[in-house]
Structure formats: C-alpha cells, structure tokens
C-alpha cells in the first residue's frame, strides 16, 4: 500500500468523508489521516460543512394540500389540453384547412392536365407532319404481316424516324374514289393501273420533305391473289397529317413484291441510304 501525500489526501478527503471511497483508496486515506493531524482536522471541517448543508437544506413540511394542489393543477391542465386538441369540423380553422386543401388539390389537377397536354404535342411533332397508317384490309382475307398483338407505334416513335415528307398538290377526289373502288372490287385485277397512278406521286419533284420512314414497313400486309401475284393483291392506305390541320395527305399504294422495290431503291441510291 502506497503512502499518500497531504495534497493528494486533500483531493480525496471529501469523497472519504461521504463514504464514496472503497477498497484500497479508502484504506490509504484512512492510514494517512491516522498519521496526519492537519488532514484529520481538514476532514472534520468537511464533515461539519456537510452536516450544516444538510441542516440548511432540510425541506419543510409541505402538507397534503400542497401536494393535492399540484395534482389538481396537473390533471386540470391535462384535461384542458385534451379538450383543446379535440378536432371539430365546425371550428373555423378546420374550415380554413379544408378550403386550403381543396385549392391545393384543384391546382394539382390543373397542373397535371397542363403537363399531360404539353407532353402530347411536343414541339418537333408540331412541326413535322403526322403520319397515320391505315392499311386496307386485303380482299383475299390473308392476314396482315403486322402481328396482332404488336403495340401500336406512338407518335413519338414515328417522329424519331422522320426523314422526309410528302408534300403533294391536292388530288381530285375522283382519283381516290377510283382507287378505293378498284381496291374493293379486286386489287389483283388492276394493280398495274393503280401503280401507274400512284408512282408519279412519289417521283414527283414536289414530294420532298420529312416523313416517317416506317411508313413503308407500316403499310399493309401481303396478300396473294388467285392468280398467284402476291404484290398486286393488297393496297395500303397511308394518311399523312401535315402541320396544318386542314391538310392531310392520303396515299394509297399497292403492295409490291420485294424485288422491284429493291430495284427501285438501287435506282435511287439517296433514298436507299436513308432507309
């Protein structure tokens, strides 16, 4: 056991007097106090001040009414607080809150409607012509090459592939009527005549402008006629909506075999490159 100095004992003596020291420190302080008169007196002073403090800070008798008053005050405050926190639909603040919520909901609905309309007509679509592909049903009943469950292409997809558009002078309604009638009767019997009417439109110098390149693939399905000529058994109808809502380009073209189309693309290398 080590011997404590008076300085170290003075630091520990308040804990020793109050019984806070245990074990070796307690024994060391006790040994030092037994040998040191000054430290022993110092410890007695601590005891006196501690007892004086205890005497000074003894709480008075408060009485049952004092405690009852505290309880009543607390419970009364709790009850009042609960009453205040009960919601009522007829209080003005709830009316204000309801009106505010209605305004917020209305504004949200209007904003959503505005955003949805803005998304439906992006600026590039407003400039580019709108292509509507409506392949005519083949008279022979052969299904279209487009799959039944294939999702319809959106305008955005079409607009991403826009390369050029057809801008043709207005045709006389009689020309289209003749095409429709011939298609309805038998497309296989007069395919060359229709091509003769339609091809000049594509080769016309006025047919330059952006259009959806998918229009060729989107055109109607193949059909085989009774005579075995598959390219003449179907007529595709392509409607192109220009930026002007009053102008719609309707293009009726017979289904062609792949060979002549390839040959024609070779004749026009610029068009084949774009595809």
């Amino acid at each position: 056991m080590r011997t404590l100095t008076c300085k170290r004992t003075a630091r520990m003596i308040s804990l020793y007097v109050a019984g806070d020291l245990v074990g070796a420190p307690e024994r060391e302080v006790a040994t030092h106090l037994a040998a040191c008169e000054d430290c022993r007196r110092f410890g007695e002073e601590f005891s006196e001040s501690s007892s004086l403090l205890s005497q000074a800070c003894t709480p008075p008798e408060f009485g049952a009414e004092f405690y009852s008053g505290i309880r009543q005050a607390v419970l009364g405050e709790i009850t009042r607080d609960r009453m205040r926190s009960k919601p009522s639909l007829f209080r003005p603040r709830w009316l204000y809150a309801t009106a505010f919520a209605a305004i917020v909901i209305t504004l949200g609905v209007l904003l959503q409607h505005f955003v949805s309309t803005r998304r439906a007509t992006p600026p590039e679509l407003a400039r580019a012509p709108q292509v509507i592909d409506q392949p005519t049903r083949p008279s022979s009943g052969v299904p279209s090459p487009r799959k039944k469950h294939e999702p319809p292409r959106t305008l955005g997809e079409q607009s991403n592939k826009v390369v050029f558009a057809l801008v043709t002078p207005r045709r006389s309604p009689g020309q289209f009527e003749a095409m429709r009638k011939s298609d309805a009767s038998d497309a296989a019997q007069a395919p060359r005549d229709e091509r003769a009417q339609i091809e000049p439109v594509m080769q016309s110098p006025t047919s330059v402008g952006p259009v959806a390149p998918g229009s060729a693939s989107l055109s109607g399905g193949s059909a085989s006629s009774s005579s075995g000529r598959a390219s003449a058994s179907e007529v595709s109808r392509i409607e192109i909506q220009t930026a002007d809502p009053n102008i719609r380009i309707i293009w009726l073209s017979p289904r062609e075999s792949r060979e002549p189309e390839t040959n024609r693309n070779q004749d026009h290398p610029e068009t084949s490159n774009r595809k």
Binding site: R11, S14, L15, A18, D20, E45, F46, E48, S49, S50, L52, L53, S54, Q55, A56, C57, P59, P60, F62, A64, F66, Y67, S68, G69, I70, R71, A73, V74, L75, E77, I78, T79
Partner: protein
C-alpha cells in the same frame, strides 16, 4: 442509504395517507414493475394511473425541486411542470428503463430551466453573499434558544442555501442528489445522464466550495469577535 430508506418510508406513508383505497399493495410499490404497469396504463390515457404515479413520486420531486430552487413557490411550479412534461413525453419513455431515474432527470432539467429563467437576479455568487450577516447567524446555529437566536439561525441556514444555489448547475444537482437526497453515485449518474466518475468529481468540487464558504463564515465570525 439511510436517508433514502427514510425518504422511501415517508413516500409510502404519504401514499397510504392520501389515497389508501386506490393504491396497490406496498410490496408492489417498491418494484419497478409497479411503475411499468402504471406507465403503460397512463400511456393508454388512464388518468387514474397517472395520478397514482404522481402520488408515488411527488414527495421526492418536490423535495428535489425545493433543494434546487430554494423556495416553496418555485418548487410547486417546478413540480407541476415536471409532471406535465412527464405526461407529454410519456410515449418516449422506453420500456425497461428506470422510470424514477427518468423522472428525476426531468426534475433536474426543469429546475435548471427555472434557475435559467431567474437569471443573474436569482442567485448570487459565493463571493457576493453577505458574510458578516452570515457569520452572526453561524454563531447561534447550535445553541438557539430565544426567538431572536432562532431567527438568526434561520437566516444563517438561508444563507447556506443561497451558497448552494450559487453553485454551477451541474455541481448543484450532483450535490443535491448525492448528499441531500441520499442517492448512490450510480443513481445520480443515471439521473444526470453522466458517468459515475464525473459525478464524483462534481460532488467533490461542490463539497469543497461549500466548505470554503463555511470557512469564510467562520473567519468572519472570528474577526467580528
């Protein structure tokens, strides 16, 4: 420890005198489960359970508040504030924690808030206490017989209480809980949210300051004679 036992016995007596019919058997009052049940019921909105909690703890809470603040009115207001806070934050009380330790921590915090509101005008520093007046009171503290001596003694005790109030808040709280309320060092540490070694240091420092104040009183007394 004896002080703690006496206080517990006083609490028990107070509980039985105040509301003998509603209280649970005394064996359950001592246990932490007693408070756990009451806390659970009070959380569910049972005001009777909360009143029982107040009955079981109000003496100790008022005692701590009075020792921390030094007067009766402040102790009453602080005790009311303590129980309102307890009710408000009862949902935050973690199950399994010592409820009384949590309650005494709230009590100490409320007393600190009260002392802070009083500010500098509330309690002076040790050096500002009138030692001449106090030394005259010290002279009569152990042998007061006549009314004048009793009044002087009461004045001296009030000055010692003022010395306690002038301690730093944490040291004052540690000294009140450890020396005056009779808590163990670990209990004080739990109530103050600190470590036992910190509490020992705070208590030791507070005791030294109180002793220094008492020494000054004794020196003034010797000089006046």
């Amino acid at each position: 420890m004896e002080v703690a036992k006496e206080t517990m016995a006083a609490e028990m007596a107070h509980i039985f005198l105040t509301d003998a019919q509603e209280m649970l058997p005394p064996a359950r009052v001592e246990s932490a489960d007693y408070f756990a049940v009451l806390v659970a019921r009070a959380r569910a909105g049972d005001e009777v359970a909360f009143e029982r909690i107040m009955l079981a703890t109000e003496q100790r809470v008022v005692s701590i508040a009075w020792r921390m603040l030094g007067n009766r009115d402040d102790a009453r207001d602080a005790a009311q504030d303590v129980y309102l806070r307890v009710f408000k934050y009862l949902a935050r009380f973690r199950t399994g924690e010592d409820f009384r330790g949590w309650l005494y921590r709230i009590t100490i915090n409320v007393c600190h808030d009260f002392a802070r509101k009083k500010g500098a005008a509330g309690f002076g520093q040790l050096d500002q206490i009138d030692f001449v007046q106090a030394s005259a009171a010290v002279e009569t503290v152990h042998r007061a017989t006549d009314p004048e001596s009793l009044a002087l003694q009461e004045q001296q005790l009030a000055l010692i209480r003022s010395a306690l109030q002038s301690l730093p808040p944490k040291e004052r709280a540690a000294l009140v809980l450890r020396d005056l309320e009779g808590f163990s060092t670990e209990e004080v540490a739990q109530a103050l949210g600190s470590r036992p070694v910190t509490v020992r240091s705070q208590v030791s420092s507070a005791r030294a300051k109180i002793k220094t104040y008492c020494d000054k009183l004794a020196r003034k007394k010797g000089a006046s004679q």
